[in-house]
Amino acid sequence: MTDVEREVVLPASPQDVWDEVIDPDRLGEWFGADVDGELAEGEPVRFTSPAGGERRAVVERVEPPRRLVFRWLPTSDEPASRVEITIDEIPDGAVVHVVERRISSAVTPTPEIGFRPLARARA
């Protein structure tokens, strides 16, 4: 109950679905937003809605042709969350599975190096 989860069966090959996911213009088409940036690991991406609303994300994992993970950065009224899109092959098509999970800022990954010396310095 802590996630939003969706699954759809599409009459297309995983590769065809992946093409719609990984190309910023095509992704923007079904997201209903302008997508600026490259969908590559570690890259920042900006989504701009037709109304002008802006949402920034960071791509975390790209595993063609079946898995894309990105993190929405928080805004003043939206919390940070992580989106995982998985594409699996089935006879005559593909299953697309989406999970979006809110991220507690308390558990936002802090690089291990740098954190420990800081904690010691404060003690």
Partner: protein
């Protein structure tokens, strides 16, 4: 302001979800009441209640010698509204993805 993510962390555990369900059914309950209904010790119940309280999901009030715990509704509303909005957005997107793939096939 409370971090909304902590609500999700707090509810990401089956025992705590069961506690929330019990509190919801009972209205208010002490840790002893709750421990009687759960397969865990009162100490364990208290630990979980503390976590739920930190997330703002549960409040406590002292009644004589007993502490009575209750659910606080606001964080639940917040969590449900997030899930509703995000879910609706994905329904729209995945519907659009389906039409888009259909168009490309032509």
């Amino acid at each position: 302001m409370r971090d909304p993510g902590s609500v999700f962390d707090a509810l990401g555990d089956a025992t705590r979800r069961r506690l929330v369900a019990e509190l919801s059914a009972l209205g208010g309950a002490s840790s002893t009441d709750l421990a009687r209904r759960m397969p865990i010790s009162r100490q364990a119940v208290c630990k979980h209640l503390d976590l739920l309280a930190d997330a703002g999901l549960v409040s406590s009030q002292r009644h004589g010698r007993a502490v009575v715990y209750r659910l606080t509704p606001e964080p639940f509303t917040d969590a449900v509204s997030w899930m509703t909005q995000v879910g609706a957005a994905w329904d729209d997107r995945l519907g659009a993805l389906r039409s888009q793939l259909k168009r490309r096939r032509r």
